[in-house]
């Protein structure tokens, strides 16, 4: 596999360069190579060739990153689970993927009772060996799980071919070139697909990534890294700068060369102010869902020359190499320019389909023949967009009840499902996204009832869903407002949540 080979070459070429900075400790590519080799040998010695999906507990350490590369060199996929996510949800993920083996760098793994656990932190020395095994392109490289409407997380498998296509597309882009001296922010959980671009591209270029220790106040730690480590490349979700906005006047970071946004709508007013803090920086507004291997295209925002937006949301621009954007109506027929419809994505980065979910796959994917008679398979993103006269795509809103919380996709229906399951009172509950004064979305739970104690419901939800999915605000409303056609009026319901 081409990109795995390139990773090998980069690691071997940049041995003296720093690869990772974790909790103020620097690790060189040489140390990284040793760690990868140790883990890879352990995998080869202990995991059967037929076992392709391997669990990975995403601690913030050298071993966890090395495990990803070790698995790829061995032609296997990682199934990441976050140690702070409820155990029950993680075990569900391992059940769904029939994972038997788990790599865990924790001192005492909580999985060792029911799974075969490889402890990646206590392996003996071995020779460096980074030559990849042969792997077929349609084999899976990782599976990530996102929120699902029925209470079950939804698996998105991404193949080696998918990643290879992503690497090819970014390589084609002349505006974005990492060099070995770059210091890159890696602020994402490894269970979040945005993390793939924040470790993969730096490793391919011999650059160094800087992670955020678990438990640190993310926003201030990022600023600390920018200031003290003089980061040159930032990849972030827009909510980060929303929270830092009150302090923009104190931020001046001339070393930053690139700042890429993704995982949520970027607003043009804040983009302009942020760009004032980074005087020598190119800003990219990336678009792309997990189902299409992180990125599918971008808009090169520039406060002077490129400020295209719709209702204040910066344009998502054009598709990258080999990717096709199609905007369709309810019958999956292409609509005209300037007409809003659902954005669909086609090309080599498209996932083979949701993990063991025939029903969902029938809804979310379709095949169409283009004018040259070529069959293209499309993924329906659920994002409403239109294409303007110049060929740029602009984001309008969502077609369903999926919301973004700090970059994470959340199905409001999943929250309602878990809240109602545990409630003894059978009352109506609606989960809502509410915008706080800094412009970020927070979750609220509206309950149609007299006030009652929700502690048990919340304790239950905390065992079922990751922290970002737990509503931060609760309101009891005696009778929900309804629109004229009898539906619950969500817009009106939001006004009950006056939050600061």
């Amino acid at each position: 596999m081409e990109f795995v080979k390139k990773l090998q070459e980069s690691i071997e070429k940049h041995t003296d360069h720093n690869a990772l900075c974790i909790n103020n400790e620097l690790y060189t590519y040489k140390q990284f190579a040793i760690e990868i080799s140790k883990i890879r040998l352990e995998i080869a010695n202990n995991i059967k060739d037929s076992e392709k999906l391997v669990g990975l507990v995403t601690n913030d350490d050298l071993q966890t990153y090395a495990s990803i590369l070790a698995l790829w060199l061995e032609g296997k996929a990682y199934v990441p689970v976050n140690p702070t996510t409820p155990l029950e949800r993680n075990i569900k993920i391992f059940e769904l993927t029939e994972t038997k083996y788990i790599i865990d760098s924790s001192e005492d793994s909580i999985y060792k009772k029911d799974y075969k656990v490889l402890n990646s932190a206590s392996l003996s020395e071995t020779e460096v060996s980074l030559t990849p095994k042969f792997v077929k392109g349609d084999q899976i490289a990782y599976i990530l799980f996102t929120s699902g409407t029925t209470g079950l997380p939804k698996g998105v498998p991404i193949t080696f071919n998918n990643i290879n296509a992503l690497v090819n597309a970014i390589d084609e882009e002349p505006e974005f070139n990492l060099v070995p001296s770059d210091r890159c922010l890696q602020m994402f959980e490894l269970t979040f697909d945005f993390s793939v671009v924040t470790y993969l591209f730096p490793f391919l270029s011999g650059s160094c990534i800087y992670t955020i220790p678990k438990g640190a106040i993310k926003y201030f730690y990022i600023f600390k890294l920018i200031k003290e480590q003089k980061l040159t490349v930032l990849t972030m979700v827009p909510s980060i700068i929303n929270y830092l906005r009150p302090y923009f006047s104190e931020i001046n970071a001339p070393d930053v060369r690139y700042c890429s946004f993704g995982g949520g709508a970027l607003h043009s007013d804040i983009a302009k102010e942020w760009s004032d803090c980074l005087p020598n920086c190119k800003i990219f507004n990336y678009y792309g869902p997990t189902e299409f291997t992180v990125y599918s295209g971008f808009y090169p925002y520039n406060k002077k020359t490129h400020v295209k937006n719709h209702n204040g949301i910066v344009a998502i621009g054009t598709p990258q190499k080999d990717t096709v954007y199609l905007i369709v109506n309810e019958n999956n027929e292409e609509v005209d320019k300037n007409v809003t419809g659902e954005l669909c994505l086609g090309g080599p980065q498209i996932t083979p389909g949701y993990w063991k979910n025939i029903k969902r796959n029938a809804q979310s994917f379709f095949t169409q023949t283009d004018k040259n008679g070529k069959k293209i398979r499309f993924y329906k993103t659920g994002d409403l967009c239109f294409k303007d006269e110049e060929g740029d795509f602009l984001y309008v809103g969502r077609a369903d009840f999926q919301v973004k919380i700090r970059g994470y996709r959340v199905e409001l229906a999943e929250i309602e499902f878990h809240a109602k399951t545990k409630s003894e009172k059978k009352v109506n509950m609606v989960a809502l996204d509410i915008t706080n004064s800094l412009g970020n979305a927070e979750l609220g739970l509206a309950i149609e009832s007299e006030v009652f104690d929700t502690e048990e419901i919340f304790n239950y939800m905390k065992t079922k869903m990751p922290g970002y999915m737990i509503p931060m605000h609760v309101r009891f409303i005696k009778e929900f407002p309804h629109s004229i056609n009898g539906k619950i009026d969500r817009k009106e319901l939001r006004t009950y949540f006056e939050i600061k």
Binding site: F220, I251, M472, H473, V474
Partner: protein, 79 residues
Amino acid sequence: MNKEEIFSKIKEAFITVLEHDNFQLKEETTAEDVDGWESITHMMIITEIEKSFGIKFKLMDLMNMNNVGDLVRTIEAEL
């Protein structure tokens, strides 16, 4: 304003943001000791404290704040 008053005002800010009062604030209290105190709520608590004390923190101070004691000292310096 004495320390006690500062502590009590800080506690109010925590309650407003976290929507519960199931915690004790001491000098050595950190985010790990209080349910719901994490990156996001921290930002909201900071904003709430700025409002109630009528002060504006500096990013440099916020960057090196590790526990409630640090928070109190920064507030004292600003008052």
